[in-house]
């Protein structure tokens, strides 16, 4: 009886957790090779060749990876600094609630907020104008929809960094780093040595999988780059949706080719992360 119950559970797992992903992947693959699709007539490599020749996907991938990488590095650095310097203060009742508050802000709201603050007629532009530093709104620097993705990076940091602070605080507590630090001190280590040789290695080794996962999440972020990004290069998800959902039916196959490329790259990264030492997320 119990065995039957377990089998039913597995069947549902495959139906809900595996089949949709497999179906989506196979459909996109077939579409990218011209096997299915409105105007497609049969197997062709034409769409892949076009995608590779245009180079937009590589540009977009590089751009997305750079933006996600910079955001993660800055977020982790600030979060580490905050967690290590204000650990005791964050345990107090008021602050312990305060540090959770940013988690209530979704990406779309964070992007809207950044847009309101940093646009040419935004809040900071008004302050700078009233201080007499600029004469017109157009002299305010491009901080949203800009070439350097400053708006996107700022928003990514504000969205991701609070999570890392909470994560590092918990790791510090669970790994009893205060005791380890005390021990290192009593063995003659300086504060700097305790930081660089005890606290940081333990925290980073314990959390690097999650940091890598957050890099992947940011790589595929959609709504924030959609509001704060520029026309070209676009971040990957925005590019894929733009290609798949546009009116030029010939371009749809190219969109699916980019989606397949993205899926394969992310799959390889995730497989590498989780097969390394056979660790899964909750075993970290």
């Amino acid at each position: 009886m119990k065995n039957n119950f377990s089998h039913i559970g597995l069947i549902f797992f495959v139906l809900i957790g595996v089949v949709p992903f497999g179906a989506a992947f196979i459909y996109a693959l077939l579409y990218s090779f011209g096997v299915v699709g409105v105007l497609n007539t049969g197997f062709t490599l034409q769409y892949w060749e076009t995608v590779i020749a245009s180079g937009e996907v590589f540009k977009s991938f590089g751009y997305s990876a750079l933006v996600a990488g910079i955001s993660v590095v800055i977020s982790v650095s600030i979060a580490l600094w905050l967690a290590l310097h204000f650990r005791k203060e964050f345990e107090k009742k008021f602050l312990s609630y305060m540090i959770y508050l940013p988690l209530a802000i979704p990406g779309v709201v964070a992007a809207f907020f950044t847009f309101q603050l940093f646009t040419k007629a935004g809040f900071f532009s008004r302050i700078v104008y009233n201080l007499g530093w600029i004469n017109e709104a157009r002299y305010f620097p491009d901080l949203v929809n800009d070439q350097l993705a400053i708006g996107i990076i700022i928003t990514f940091i504000t969205v991701v960094m609070p999570f890392f602070v909470l994560l590092f605080l918990n790791v510090y507590k669970n790994e009893r780093l205060d005791k380890l630090s005390e021990l290192a001190h009593s063995l003659g280590a300086s504060s700097k040595e305790v930081l660089w040789k005890v606290s940081l290695p333990v925290i980073l080794r314990k959390t690097w999988n999650l940091i890598a996962l957050y890099f992947i999440f940011l790589l595929g972020a959609y709504e924030i780059p959609l509001i704060l990004g520029q026309e070209s290069p676009q971040m990957l998800s925005v590019l894929i949706v733009r290609e798949i959902k546009q009116y030029d039916l010939n371009k749809i196959s190219e969109g699916y080719a980019v989606a397949i490329f993205y899926t394969i790259v992310v799959t390889l990264i995730v497989s590498f992360i989780f097969t390394r030492k056979n660790k899964t997320l909750h075993e970290i």
Binding site: F5, S6, I8, G9, F13, I16, G17, V18, P20, F21, A24, Y27, E89, L95, S96, M98, Y100, L101, L103, A104, I105, P106, G107, V108, V109, F112, F113, F115, Q116, L117, A121, F123, S125, R126, Y129, N130, N170, V171, L213, I216, G220, A221, Y222, I227, L236, S237, I240, V241, K245, G255, Y262, T263, V266, V270, F274, N278, T280, L281, H282, I284
Partner: protein
């Protein structure tokens, strides 16, 4: 005497955390806030009162979002709880868990774009049911991963003990498993509710603009350059999660790590 800079940094941090909340409320209560004014020329409840009476659709969007998120959270929490047992006790647990991560890690919007053909064929395109099904495909793997740590050796021993004492499957769940998993069920419900509540990309593709959840509404107002209503929608989007976070903050991260 050494200068103590910590209180200043902490004060700045608290101000930075509160700033978006205050700014959104301020913006939602403003109108005619033109460049270069630092403060709005009108500040009051006009916009908030309008959403109750006019056809802005914010209020209906709020209820659509609540019903979608409640449905998604309920179904994914319960199915995740039951199905994760089969996965966790399976000899190939690690491979199955790895499979679980993919739909969750892949950008939901890309997943939805690739799945949209099947939704169209099944008549799930542009309606609430379609969005619930699509969001469920993202929240279900989360619930599965979340509960996988619950099904450990201790739980298995307890199940065996109930069976030895003559309990059937129903009694095992009702009298033993549900009571000990109560806290985790609640946290998973909150988390999946938030994933659904915050979702935009997937909802916009499967809903094709016909189902206007609050996140879709925010985008529409941004496109229309109606920032006051946009901020108002943001406020409605932010405050339920604030309450939920307050309720479960004690449990969330200890369970995640």
């Amino acid at each position: 005497m050494k200068f103590n800079w910590k209180p200043y940094i902490l004060t700045l941090l608290v101000l930075l955390i509160l700033f978006p909340f205050v700014y959104m409320v301020l913006l939602s209560m403003s109108s005619e806030w033109r460049f270069p004014e630092i403060l709005p020329s009108y500040f009051g409840l006009k916009n908030w009162l309008k959403i109750l009476s006019s056809d802005t659709g914010i209020f209906s969007s709020f209820f659509i979002s609540v019903s979608i998120s409640l449905s998604v959270a309920t179904v994914s929490t319960l199915s995740g709880f039951f199905i994760s047992r089969s996965v966790a006790y399976h000899p190939k647990k690690k491979a199955l868990t790895l499979l679980t991560y993919f739909p969750y890690i892949l950008a939901p919007v890309v997943f939805a774009a690739c799945l949209s053909y099947f939704f169209l064929k099944m008549g799930l395109f542009g309606n609430i049911t379609g969005i619930i099904v699509a969001q469920f495909m993202i929240t279900f793997p989360y619930a599965l991963i979340f509960f996988s740590s619950f099904w450990n050796e201790r739980t298995r021993n307890l199940e065996d003990l109930v069976a030895t004492l003559g309990g059937n499957t129903l009694q095992t769940y009702v009298k033993m498993l549900f009571p000990i998993a109560k806290g985790m069920l609640l946290i998973c419900f909150f988390q999946t509710f938030l994933i659904s509540w915050f979702e935009y990309g997937l909802t916009s593709i499967i809903g094709v603009g016909k189902v206007q959840t609050l996140t879709i509404k925010v985008f529409l107002f941004i496109k229309e350059a109606n920032f006051y209503y946009g901020a108002l929608s943001c406020c409605l989007l932010i405050f339920p999660p604030v309450v939920l976070l307050y309720l479960n903050k004690k449990y969330v991260f200890n369970k995640l790590i």
